[in-house]
């Protein structure tokens, strides 16, 4: 009986043993696979999350120029205003419509500004009309209220981004700020079921597979927006199957962690939409700027469609490279718009017929003025870590005046070329730099680092340290004038040949520019006006070179030059910005104001982080500075810089100094009006001779730049301790006073020497006498 059972049992156990032999390894294997898969998933999860979080924070700092302030009484040409509006990308219409538009009607300009969050608060859209008359703003009317306004300002120009290391760039969009038709259109075209799927859309994949099989090639993609976002994080050329699987997993993981809104927002900021040389264009905000030079909110529906059409292939559908293909694709997108009710069927063909409105030349990087932004970066570096600067999305408000900057760039380029051809120099040999600041307030308005202004190369304005030559002389003469009992403008100096024995035994015999000597009775003011070297060296040695160095320090110089006689001829180096600092202290009458390029820094959400307040400090007595400035006006009128008045109107009082170095290697000019100060350097990078003096080179560029600006005369207040004494300038070195000509010379009160006989002022019977008149009675 048992035998029967056994055989049956034997049969089934034979089956079971086959399975049970396989089972343990199978279980082990599958457990291993599961564990590995889990680990891998965890790894992918970590990767995609850190990318997502990283993308949210790696926003470069946005750098803004100063906003244009508008108020009745302002001297402003109507073209300067419209230039600024064009720069800002405002649209010029026959009539104003929405924000960012303007209209011109004769001498009236109507503007609707864009809302903007300034460092002192939000300025909502302003709608106003400006009336111009005789080169000024005559009236400013708020068109909402109909009332006259005292002052308003435009939104500032975005001049740059301080990039993260990867060289990427963003204009951050918040999901709430994105036009609805962009979102709806994007989803309609790229991911209809966005809000329903879980990261991957199986239906869409199936549909795509079928369509591709039918067509025999890839005609449709089944990726969701989420998958595309993941793809954009790890943008690589090949799209292998393994990659696609990984992306799918990560997409699902993303959706587990983040909401639809967050994912969509990240996508809108991440999606790759174009290339500008080395710079990748990511995100719709930046793309709008890059293709249309306006913010997203101002795009028309066909422009929105164009941006969406780029998602599938920014190079392939580049409107600048293949306009036809671009229009075709755009119109396809517009059809999808219509199919989803985003565009009226009736209007569709009209809209599709509209031409491409893409701006031909993409805005030059978002850093338009790299030399200036370089200065901004350096001035921030002390306060912010580089990483914070480039990854926190800070909003930086600067002092740059785009109008002044463009004048400086234009004039510099034009005149360098002219100078080269005039002197027979090969084209491209000369280089130059300029710094322009306000006189009061020490604000850097413009900075040019070289003739190739779009290129962020060697920044000569900040880093080209060159001997300053005669630019040092005002410091020498100022030091002398601060000892008014010994030196006044009419003190006679010795310009006879001088030989100095140096420590090593060599003889140094300085020469004048004209290779002549001018005797031993040169009035001080003439020696400075005509920049006599020999007289200046003697003067420097008389007063002591260390005291000249001290003066330079008080004017704001940070250097520590050697205290040798050649210092009086500027045989030490400075960069143009440092020169500007020194001359700025002179221009303010002895008030040292550190030059700043930044007004304020705000966080990404516009919370104030730091303000760069006006700081000034009197470091030199006003009296001597006033007298020196008087002398510097003589340099312009009768001295080495008088050719400036071939270009600028003689009605404008200016002060300045030419600077030329050995063998004419460096050509300098530093000078100012009542409101603008400018330093120009011209030279060669290889330090070869330029055949240009300060007057024939830098001064010419300086004068052309200044002449393009709305200049105010340099007319400082006369301090209480300065008196103006009428003297005959032709007789200053002699004793007889013919008083054929009369010129007023400044003196510190109480220091007019006994040997000085003031002329009778022919225009008034009252003679201004100095305190010494009392003593004169007893001579």
């Amino acid at each position: 009986m048992a035998r029967k059972n056994t055989s049956r049992k034997k049969k089934s156990s034979a089956n079971h043993s086959w399975l049970s032999a396989l089972l343990p390894p199978f279980v082990v294997l599958s457990s291993i696979v599961v564990v590995l898969a889990t680990l891998y998933t965890v790894y992918l999860d970590h990767r995609v999350r850190s990318q997502f979080e990283g993308a949210r924070w790696s926003l470069p700092a946005q750098v803004y120029a100063r906003p244009m302030e508008l108020y009745p009484g302002l001297r402003l040409q109507i073209e300067v205003l419209t230039d600024e509006l064009q720069r800002l990308g405002y649209r010029h219409n026959a009539e104003v419509s929405g924000s960012g538009t303007y209209a011109v009607d004769g001498q009236n300009v109507t503007i609707v500004t864009r809302p903007f969050r300034f460092w002192d608060g939000l300025q909502t859209t302003q709608k106003f009309r400006i009336e111009f008359a005789k080169g000024r703003i005559k009236g400013l009317t708020d068109l909402e209220t109909g009332e006259a306004r005292h002052i308003t300002r435009l939104d500032p120009l975005l001049i740059g981004s301080i990039y993260p290391v990867q060289g990427e760039d963003r204009i951050l969009l918040h999901i709430n700020g994105v036009p609805q038709n962009l979102i709806n259109g994007l989803l309609a075209v790229e991911d209809k079921n966005f809000y329903e799927h879980f990261g991957v859309d199986p239906k869409s994949i199936m549909r795509a597979m079928i369509a591709n099989l039918q067509a025999g090639r890839v005609v449709q993609g089944g990726s969701t927006i989420t998958q595309q976002l993941v793809k954009n994080f790890f943008l690589t050329r090949e799209q292998t199957l393994i990659r696609k699987v990984r992306e799918a997993i990560m997409a699902v993981l993303l959706e587990l962690h983040y909401g639809k809104g967050e994912i969509l927002e990240a996508y809108l900021n991440e999606v790759y939409l174009g290339q500008d040389g080395a710079r990748a264009i990511h995100g719709f905000g930046l793309a709008s700027h890059f293709y249309f030079k306006k913010p997203l909110a101002e795009l028309k529906v066909e422009e929105v469609a164009l941006l969406i059409s780029l998602v599938k292939g920014p190079s392939y559908y580049d409107p600048r490279r293949s306009a036809e293909r671009s229009v075709e694709r755009r119109n396809l997108v517009l059809e999808r718009f219509a199919a989803n009710g985003l565009v009226d069927e009736a209007e569709l063909s009209e809209i599709q017929a509209r031409p491409l409105t893409v701006v031909e030349n993409p805005p030059q990087g978002t850093t338009r003025f790299p030399a200036f932004v370089d200065l901004v970066r350096r001035q921030l570096r002390g306060h912010y870590r580089e990483a914070d600067l480039t990854s926190e999305g800070l909003r930086i408000f600067t002092t740059l005046d785009p109008h002044v900057q463009e004048i400086a760039e234009r004039r510099l380029k034009t005149h360098l070329g002219k100078l080269e051809s005039m002197r027979g120099l090969p084209a491209g040999k000369l280089e130059a730099a300029t710094v322009i600041t306000s006189v009061d307030g020490g604000k850097v308005l413009a900075l040019v680092g070289g003739r190739d202004t779009g290129y962020a190369g060697f920044n000569r304005a900040l880093d080209a340290r060159r001997p300053i030559g005669s630019l040092v002389k005002p410091a020498v003469y100022l030091t002398a004038l601060s000892r008014p009992h010994r030196y006044s403008p009419v003190t006679l100096l010795n310009d006879r040949r001088l030989e100095l024995i140096q420590p090593n035994g060599d003889i140094w015999a300085p020469e004048n520019y004209d290779k002549r000597f001018h005797g031993d009775e040169v009035p001080l003011y003439i020696a400075l006006a005509k920049s006599y070297n020999v007289a200046t060296v003697r003067l420097g040695m008389d007063i002591g070179i260390p005291s000249v160095i001290d003066t330079l320090g008080k004017l704001g110089s940070k250097g520590k030059p050697l205290a040798v006689p050649s210092l009086a001829l500027g045989a030490f180096e400075m960069a143009p910005l440092e020169v500007a600092q020194i001359y700025n202290t002179l221009a303010t009458g002895g008030y040292y104001t550190p030059l700043l390029s930044i007004q304020a820094v705000l966080s990404r959400d516009s919370e104030p982080l730091s303000r760069y307040p006006l700081r000034l400090r009197q470091t030199y007595d006003e009296g001597p500075v006033y007298i020196l400035n008087w002398n510097m006006r003589q340099i312009m009128r009768i001295g080495t810089a008088r050719s400036a008045y071939n270009i600028i109107s003689r009605d404008i009082d200016l002060a300045g100094k030419t600077g030329t170095t050995d063998d004419l290697r460096d050509s300098w000019f530093a000078g100012y009006s009542g409101n603008f100060l400018s330093v120009v350097w011209v030279g060669r990078d290889d330090n070869g001779p330029t055949k240009l003096s300060g007057a024939t080179g830098a001064l010419q560029i300086w004068a052309h730049i200044m002449n393009d600006l709305e200049l105010e005369s340099f007319k400082p207040n006369r301090p209480d301790n300065v008196v103006m004494i009428p003297l005959d300038p032709d007789e200053v070195e002699h004793d007889d006073e013919d008083c054929d000509r009369i010129m007023y010379f400044p003196f510190i009160r109480g220091t007019v020497g006994r040997d000085i006989e003031p002329c009778e002022d022919a225009h008034s019977h009252r003679q201004e006498r100095d305190g010494n008149w009392f003593l004169d009675l007893f001579r």
Binding site: E69, Y71, L74, R637, D653, K715, I742
Partner: protein, 163 residues
Amino acid sequence: MLGNSIGYAATGCLLMAMGGCAVFKGQVTEPPSTSGQAATGTRRESGSEQAAGPAAQALMAQAASHVETGDYQKAAATLERALYIEPRNPVIYAQLADVMLAQGLLGEAENLARRSNSLARNQPDLQAKNWMTIARAMRARGETASAEAAEMRARELKNLAGE
């Protein structure tokens, strides 16, 4: 001739005894210059006609209201905006000095007050106020003697203003 000289001498003695410079103060007009024509485009910066234009005034009023709400940073930023429009207006500098005072930034306040004085012409009220600001800063630094001298100047100017 001699009589005139003695007359001058006597007056001179008297005035000098009173503090010297007074006789030379006051009506000093810019003598005609032979070095060029009168410049255009300049704002005459003499005396009490130095009222701020409406744009600067509007900003100064804004700044004042910021001060009232205790927002000193905004007040200072607004005043700097006013200085962009009228860079040499001593009243704006004085108002900015006040904001610095309110923030306890005495050194800054003093510098701005001095700047205001250097730009002021025949504005004794303003100058007196500035000297009081300077005196405060000096006291805070323990420079008592200088502070007292500054306060005296302020009083003198106030008397001058009262005349």
